[in-house]
Symmetry: C2
Subunit: 217 residues, 2 copies
């Protein structure tokens, strides 16, 4: 018998579910602040306008069971959701490209509360190398492979200019990075076993501008 | 005859299309740097792994036509895409909640290159009120309604704690904000005519952690 989790225990949870679970978490945290001890999926449903049956289905991926009539225990649900979403483990990351957005992310200590700790950043700008932002050291990009040996890092945050987005991604992966959080508007290509999470603020802006424009005419 | 665009001219473009168009834009910008003058959807397709027919369909929303065999003119395509995506107009915005993420967004001058200018921020922290970040003034939240008269703003960026996310949203909308860029993990409720763009970094982290965990077992 092994203590390692087995493949079947780690479900590949559908992305829409993973995107909704943080809504439930923030909602249940609010209920806790209001002094509630139990919460039902019907209650959450009323607050956030998602079907109660969908909520119950999403929560079925999480290892918690509700009690008939009273629902889920608030404290237990928060703990289990934070753990399930990976917010209680600290995942170390390197950031590549300390430009405007990269620098902003280094200053956002809030990511730590959700399980992401950026431990070092890389750039080629001589004015940045050797300095710190928010306590995080900035190294020359050529030091990446060395630093991979020093830190236990699996995640790379990509905030470089689009011209070098693919090249830096390839370097990251060759160095052992397993997941790329891509903030560039560039569609990077990676091998099948590498995780990519695209967060293009500019694509979100484009959607918002289009909808706003549509409503105003 | 009126010069105003008519409702039918402003198509409600499908969200997946709006999310892909910035990929094409960044790709075509790269081709321009490499000295290319024409680009076909087949060429873009090879670079970014999206079907050429899908690309042609997406580009059909944009007012540009390709020429048989040579494809789209690179300069024209960049111009038309940037314009279509709203990146060439400057959209003014207020930011609500100058915490860690809010402060980081104020420091990200990159948003300006994609059509968003944060012109003022609001908070209740006495240490922040009256100061500037990256040249952007921070006012007390109670001044919001006054400042709406002073600035021509339609967009509100929401980076407050979840406990007050709904309340601040309601205040924004009552004051005349037409679109909310919601960075909180809280699912805000708004009237039908108000645009909401959710960008929860934490939900993206949850997806990335789950996929990474899945791959590692």
């Amino acid at each position: 018998m092994s203590n390692q989790p087995q493949k079947k225990d780690i479900a590949k949870v559908p992305e829409p579910t993973l995107r909704r679970l943080p809504w439930y978490l923030s909602n249940v945290k609010l209920l806790k602040q209001k002094g509630e001890q139990y919460v039902s999926s019907t209650q959450i449903s009323k607050e956030i306008n998602v079907d109660a049956s969908q909520i119950a289905k999403d929560l079925s991926y999480v290892n918690i069971s509700g009690r008939t009539r009273v629902g889920y225990e608030v404290d237990a649900l928060i703990e289990v959701l934070e753990d399930f979403l990976g917010f209680t483990d600290m995942h170390k990351a390197f950031l590549f490209g300390v430009g405007s957005l990269g620098g902003a992310l280094l200053r956002d200590s809030g990511l730590k509360h959700f399980g992401l700790e950026i431990v070092a950043a890389f750039d080629v700008n001589p004015n940045l190398i050797g300095t710190h932002i928010n306590g995080i050291p900035i190294f020359h990009s050529s030091e990446f492979v060395n630093k991979m040996k020093e830190y236990d890092v699996h995640i790379g945050v990509l905030t470089v200019p689009i011209e070098i987005a693919q090249q830096i991604t390839d370097t990251m992966i060759a160095g052992g990075i397993k997941a790329v959080w891509n903030f560039t508007p560039f569609r990077i290509r990676v091998p099948e076993n590498i995780v990519v999470q695209n967060t293009s603020l500019y694509a979100h802006l484009a959607v918002m501008f289009n909808r706003l424009n549509f409503n105003e005419h």
